[in-house]
Symmetry: C2
Subunit: 319 residues, 2 copies
C-alpha cells in the first residue's frame, strides 16, 4: 500500500464544511464572520505519551481528545483539524483502528479532518486543531480575579493511577485498573462545558500536566494566588468508589497527576448559579476546590483548613 | 533547561497579528473578512527528510519553506504557523540554529509562529501553516484546461543531484556539490509567484515529489493529459552552467527528482503575457515546458518531438 492509497483508504472522506479538503496542496476553509479562530497543537510520541501496546482505536481517540481539550479550555467550538503522522510501516490493522477511533470522536464534535501529512519514521502523531469563538469571548488564562471561586470539572487522578500501575508502583484490582486505564487512554474533552462557560468563567485552562501545574499557569498569567482545599482530592478520582487509594498516592494522583483533560476555571461568586447551570446543561460534573487570593502563591489547605506541605511537581518533558 | 524555558528562550516572541500568541491553551487569531483560509502541514523526520549532520539553521529554514511552498501552490498569502517539535534532548546550540533559520524565513514572509508543542522523542518537526486568499481566488489542481500551456518556476533537479552525491552514486566537483546541497537544504518557496498567478494560472501544484509525480496530480484532478518537451530538463538544473551532468542522470533529477519546491502550473495561451508579467514582478524565472492535452496521459517528447520512453517514478513514502 502506497502513501496515497493509505490516505485514500483510511483518512480521506467527503468534505463537510471545508471548501477544499484532503487532496490538494492546501485545504481551503471559509471562516464564520463575527468569529475569531482558536488554534492548538499536540504531538504524541510512542514510549513517551503512549505505550506500543495501546489499542490503536483508543490512541486515535486520545490524539484528537487532547487537542479538543485545549479548544474547550478557551471556550472554542471545534471546526477542523490537520493530522501529520509518522509511521514505521503501513500496518492496515493499526490504521483501521486508529482512524476509526479518531473519526468517532471527530464526528461527535463535527470536527473535520481537512489535511495533513504522512511519512515513514518512528511513530509520531501530530495534530493541529482549529475552532472558532464569537469575537471577544475566548476564555484566557489571564482573567482570574481575586475572590473568584475555583472549580474543576469531572474527575482527577485516574490516568496517573493507571500509569503508576503500569510502572508496577501500585497493584490494583482488575476492575479498578481497567477503569483507570480507560480514563488514561480515552479521556473526555470537556468541549460542551468550555463553550457553556463563555461569559461566565473569568479564566480557564485544561489539566494536562496536573492540576497544580496547570492552575499555576492561570495564577501566573493572572498575577494572583489561590488556596485550594486538598480534602476534595481523593474523592475526585473516578476509581474512588470502587477502591480505597492510599492517601499519599491519591493526593499525588489528583493534584499533580497529569493526563486528566479536565478543566480548571475561575468564576465570580456572583456567577455561581450560572456556573452550576453551565455544568448541568453540558452534562458535566464540577467541584468547587478553592478560591483566588491576592497572595501570588498557591496554598494547599488540609482537613483542618490549615496549610499542608505537599511536594508536588507538574510534568515537564525536559526537566 | 525545562520545556517552558525552552519555548520562552527560543520560540516565544511578542505577538504580531495574533490576538493571543504562544502561552495560553490556544492561540487566538482574527481572520480578514472577504478571505478564505488555506491550510497545509508537513512533517520532517530525521533520516528520512534530512540527515543528522544537517546544519540546524538550514533545517529551520527548510521546515517552514516546504510548508510555505504549499501555500504558494494555492496562491495564498502566508499568515501564521504552528510548530510541533519532538527532540531527543534540549540541545541549545541546535535550538539556537534551528530557531534562527526558522524565524529568518518566517519574518521574510511575515508569517507568525502562534503556537505548537514540544516533547521529548526522536527528532521530528511538524508544522501546520495557514495563509489566506481573497474568496474564490485559490488556485487548485483541478482547473487545467485542454490547450493550456504548462510552466515550471525556477530550477529543477539540483536537490536530487545532491542526494545522489550523498548516496555516493555520483561524484561532483566541490563547488557543484555545495550549490546542489544548498538547493536541497535551503529551498526557496515561490510565495510571491504563487500570489501573482491568482486569476492567471488555471491549475497549480508545488513540486515536492518530482515534476512527473506532481504534474500527475494536476492531470488526474483536472481529468486531462499533457505533453512535455523533455529537452528542457538538463538546462533547468541550477548546477548546469558549472558542470555537465550525465544525460540520464539529468533527466532523472529534473523530471522526477523531488525536493525542488518549485511550482508547476497551467495557463491559457491567451494569458501568456500575464504569466510573464507575474514572473517578472515576483522576480522568479519560469520556463514553458509543454501543454495540456485531452489524452488523459502524460507524454514525454524528446529532441525530435517524438515520444521518449523514460522510466521514472515519483517519491512515495510507503512504496
Amino acid at each position: 500500500m502506497g502513501e496515497f492509497d493509505l490516505i485514500e483508504r483510511y483518512f480521506k472522506r467527503p468534505p463537510l464544511s471545508a471548501d477544499v479538503g484532503i487532496g490538494d496542496d492546501c485545504a481551503v476553509w471559509t471562516p464564520r464572520s463575527g468569529h475569531q479562530l482558536a488554534f492548538s497543537a499536540d504531538m504524541l510520541v510512542e514510549g513517551r505519551h503512549f505505550l506500543s501496546t495501546v489499542n490503536p482505536h483508543h490512541l486515535g481517540h486520545k490524539s484528537l481528545a487532547v487537542n479538543l481539550s485545549d479548544l474547550a479550555a478557551c471556550g472554542a467550538t471545534p471546526q477542523a483539524f490537520m493530522l501529520s503522522l509518522s509511521l514505521p510501516r503501513a500496518d492496515e490493522a493499526w490504521l483501521a483502528g486508529f482512524s476509526s477511533g479518531l473519526f468517532q470522536l471527530a464526528d461527535q464534535h463535527r470536527c473535520e479532518l481537512i489535511g495533513g501529512d504522512t511519512t515513514q519514521g518512528p511513530l509520531n502523531i501530530s495534530i493541529t486543531v482549529m475552532g472558532d469563538i464569537p469575537t471577544g469571548q475566548s476564555i484566557l488564562r489571564s482573567g482570574a480575579q481575586v475572590g473568584d471561586d475555583l472549580y474543576v470539572s469531572g474527575h482527577l487522578g485516574d490516568a496517573r493511577l493507571a500509569l503508576e500501575a503500569f510502572r508496577g508502583n501500585v497493584s490494583l484490582p482488575q476492575h479498578v485498573f481497567e477503569l483507570a486505564r480507560l480514563r488514561m487512554e480515552r479521556p473526555t474533552p470537556r468541549v460542551a462545558l468550555g463553550q457553556a462557560l463563555r461569559g461566565i468563567a473569568t479564566a480557564m485552562a485544561d489539566i494536562s500536566d496536573g492540576l497544580i501545574g496547570d492552575l499555576g499557569h492561570i495564577l501566573k498569567a493572572s498575577h494572583v494566588g489561590a488556596e485550594i482545599d486538598t480534602t476534595f482530592a481523593p474523592a475526585l478520582m473516578q476509581t474512588h468508589p470502587f477502591w480505597t487509594c492510599p492517601p499519599d498516592l491519591a493526593m499525588t494522583c489528583a493534584l499533580s497527576g497529569g493526563d486528566d483533560y479536565e478543566l480548571v476555571f475561575s468564576a465570580s461568586p456572583s456567577a455561581s448559579a450560572n456556573v452550576q447551570r453551565a455544568a448541568k446543561e453540558s452534562g458535566t460534573s464540577i467541584t468547587r476546590i478553592g478560591r483566588i487570593t491576592d497572595s501570588r502563591r498557591l496554598e494547599l489547605l488540609g482537613m483542618d483548613g490549615l496549610p499542608v506541605a505537599i511536594s508536588l511537581n507538574s510534568f515537564d518533558h525536559f526537566a
